[in-house]
Subunit: 241 residues, 2 copies
């Protein structure tokens, strides 16, 4: 079997205006090369419905795999999910599975799950959710199009979930433990944990909330039971989490 | 008059494989925003003739201005100039004006102007050369398409030449003095010179040749006589050049 061909669609005015320097293209190019996916084309378009839909339709018919980044946040200009639905002629609304994930997340944070945030639960019918271990709001896969966040740490986590499926492997599952200590504090015990579970991928994503530093520790693997066992050990290591 | 719309076409396998991280897109986005040119789309394609010609034709008919970067060097995979000729249905060959520039340059360097390097003098009929004060090999403008080098320092110098023409101004002329001293050595007198000629743009591009550090000092302005006067003063300042 020859390598799958791929294209990327970067969505966002902030890239084209030069306010933000895109980091996801270079990251995806390196990951795809490492895993034998042949990235053939990248397009960057603005937050414009016709531009996004046209680019999506051109790329999804020309390549085996399309990855998008950006435009799935809570503000009015985050229109990627609706554009994907339009490109596929699919119905879209707030979907129960995504709603439940976000609702639980905001409850645990003591934050309001308001109408703006509910935009992030808009998922086209027929799509499969992509795990977001960093900030919960999911991406999704619709046929050969994988819709991911623009924030680099979230984009990278989503690429890690999806990559194995593109090369014929099983998707990676992930579980997250939110530890209310900075990365410098947990690096040593976490390093030992990663060596003990070297068959799994162990990552750490820092966050800051109300002035306090914390770390989302994400463990990934294809075997659910093995992942559960690792999480039991991880919780014992950081009982304050 | 509303702002001109623009697109960029980045050409090169090395970007899509992740070996090189593109810097030109972010640079152009910032410059265009500063000067009121509305960058609407960027495409990155590989060194593939059909991919380049198709993208060129799509972009040049959809936007007022197209800037390309990459694929104008001396190796077999540098096919941008030939693809532009094909997109416009124009004849292309080694052209006398570009040949003369490069021939003089390599003679002054004591280097052979071999067949590979002569590729860089392939310019479509009807195109206007874009000045390359850094490494001589020119870019070119063909109708609304501006063909520039991929090397960031050269790309930036070419953008500086062309930008004023896109917003209704006169093209910037440039003259270069090659000073065989490192930038740290010349920074102080050059700073004074730039203040004395504050109506001109004064830039410095370091180079290294045979282990010796040097600086290409580039002076830009729209008025040829004023530029000539500045070059006389600059040569007096660095008589060893």
């Amino acid at each position: 079997m020859s390598n799958p061909t791929a294209a990327m669609l970067v969505i966002g005015d902030e890239i084209l205006s030069g306010r933000t320097r895109d980091a996801n293209m270079h990251y995806l190019a390196q990951e795809f090369t490492k895993h034998g996916v042949d990235l053939r084309e990248v397009r960057v378009v603005s937050d414009d419905r016709a531009a996004i839909v046209d680019a999506l339709n051109a790329l999804r018919s020309a390549y085996d795999v399309v990855v998008t980044s950006g435009g799935i946040g809570p503000t009015h200009d985050d229109i990627t999910a609706d554009c994907v639905a339009e490109a596929f002629g699919a119905h879209i609304d707030v979907r129960d599975d995504a709603y439940a994930l976000l609702d639980a997340h905001y409850k645990s944070q003591g934050k309001e799950f308001n109408t703006a945030r509910q935009r992030m639960a808009r998922i086209p019918d027929g799509a499969t959710l992509i795990d977001n271990p960093v900030s919960i709001a999911p991406g999704f896969t619709m046929e050969n199009v994988h819709v991911m966040a623009g924030v680099p740490s979230v984009f990278q986590a989503m690429v890690a979930s999806v990559l194995p499926t593109l090369t014929g492997g099983a998707p990676l599952l992930s579980q997250t433990l939110r530890v209310q200590r900075g990365e410098g504090d947990i690096a040593e015990p976490l390093g030992q944990f990663a060596r003990d579970y070297s068959d799994l991928q162990v990552g750490s994503y820092p966050y800051q909330q109300d002035g306090v530093y914390g770390s989302n520790v994400v463990v990934r693997g294809a075997d659910a039971a093995r992942l559960d066992a690792a999480m039991v050990a991880l919780r014992a290591l950081f009982p304050e989490a």
